[in-house]
């Protein structure tokens, strides 16, 4: 009798844990791009998420931190700060609408860097640089730059 109770208790515990797991599963952007950086200020982002992979500045001087983890991450995030250190925006990068803007003959390398962030790898086709990205949908994207460092080809 006691063993039946034990089995029942264990079964209920496993069921509850499974339900809790389902409830904790990330939804929305977090499900696609991974866990976003956390916090409302630079200090909170530093404490909760860590050091950025790259640091950039907008034309108007505002600081931007990029979390991409380069080769391993499929999603990437960008945090834009106000001048007083408050978070202005936390946004995923490498979204379908960003990728759609990277077309042959279109964007320059600087624009691709702004749209997609740091590439996970740089290789060469002849003397042409090829930037490689891991995308949130687990696919890979190769952007080849030609004359004038403009996009010459996109492979996915």
């Amino acid at each position: 009798m006691r063993s039946i109770r034990h089995v029942l208790a264990i079964t209920l515990a496993i069921g509850a844990a499974a339900l809790a797991g389902c409830a904790a599963r990330p939804t929305g952007e977090a499900a696609i791009y991974g866990t976003p950086p956390q916090g409302g200020t630079m200090q909170e982002v530093r404490n909760r998420t860590g050091l950025p992979n790259a640091m950039r500045f907008l034309g108007s001087g505002e600081e931007v931190w990029e979390f991409n983890d380069r080769r391993v991450a499929w999603g990437a995030w960008r945090v834009v700060y106000e001048r007083d250190g408050k978070v202005r925006e936390i946004m995923p990068i490498r979204r379908p609408e960003d990728i759609a803007q990277v077309k042959a003959g279109g964007a320059s390398a600087a624009e691709v860097l702004e749209l997609l962030g740091e590439p996970g790898g740089v290789s060469f086709a002849g003397q042409d640089a090829v930037w490689e990205y891991c995308l949130p949908d687990r696919s890979r994207l190769k952007v080849r730059f030609g004359e004038g460092k403009r996009v010459a080809g996109v492979d996915s």
């Binding site: 200090q43 740089v122 003397q127 004038g148």
Partner: protein, 172 residues
């Protein structure tokens, strides 16, 4: 004894040009001749890719957070190296002045090795060599308005500095 000191002088004399060459041409990267492909194959992936106001591509190798060596390579529009230099040198440190913004500091020193907050104040830290080959940490404190307030240069071998066993990173 005399013979030994002669050999020592000769060895130093022979090694100096090599050391100077390593500083001016890291990994044998030759401005005006070496291409982006050469840089990629000799040094590997840069830590950071960026573009300056003139649209020139810049590759930085900073070995953060533990490295004491950092290099900045600027490419022309033809993907040929325009300039290659070591960052975080004494001359760079002399350019740092109170009131500077984080953007200006990154332009001079490259990205910091560490970023942290103490009592709600922002601190950045670079690991670097000072007076030749002595390992130091340059710590800068920002004011409440996120402009540079003060700097401190700390020898990396002070007990408790936490960086005595730091990996020096890539060297040319």
């Amino acid at each position: 004894m005399m013979r030994f000191s002669r050999w020592a002088v000769l060895a130093v004399a022979l090694s100096l040009p090599g050391a100077l060459l390593a500083q001016s041409k890291p990994w044998g990267i030759d401005p005006g001749r070496s291409t982006m492909k050469d840089v990629r194959s000799r040094i590997g992936m840069p830590s950071v890719i960026k573009f300056n106001a003139e649209g020139e591509e810049i590759w930085e190798y900073n070995n953060n957070p533990n490295g004491y060596h950092a290099y900045r390579i600027v490419f022309g529009a033809d993907n040929v190296v325009k300039s290659a230099r070591r960052m975080r040198m004494d001359a760079d440190q002399l350019q740092i002045k109170p009131g500077m913004t984080s953007k200006e500091l990154v332009e001079i020193m490259g990205e910091p090795s560490l970023i942290y907050f103490i009592r709600n104040r922002l601190y950045w830290e670079w690991r670097l060599h000072h007076f030749g080959n002595l390992r130091h940490r340059l710590v800068v404190e920002f004011d409440a308005d996120y402009t540079l307030k003060s700097t401190a240069l700390i020898g990396a071998h002070y007990r408790g500095s936490g960086s005595t066993h730091g990996y020096g990173g890539l060297t040319p």
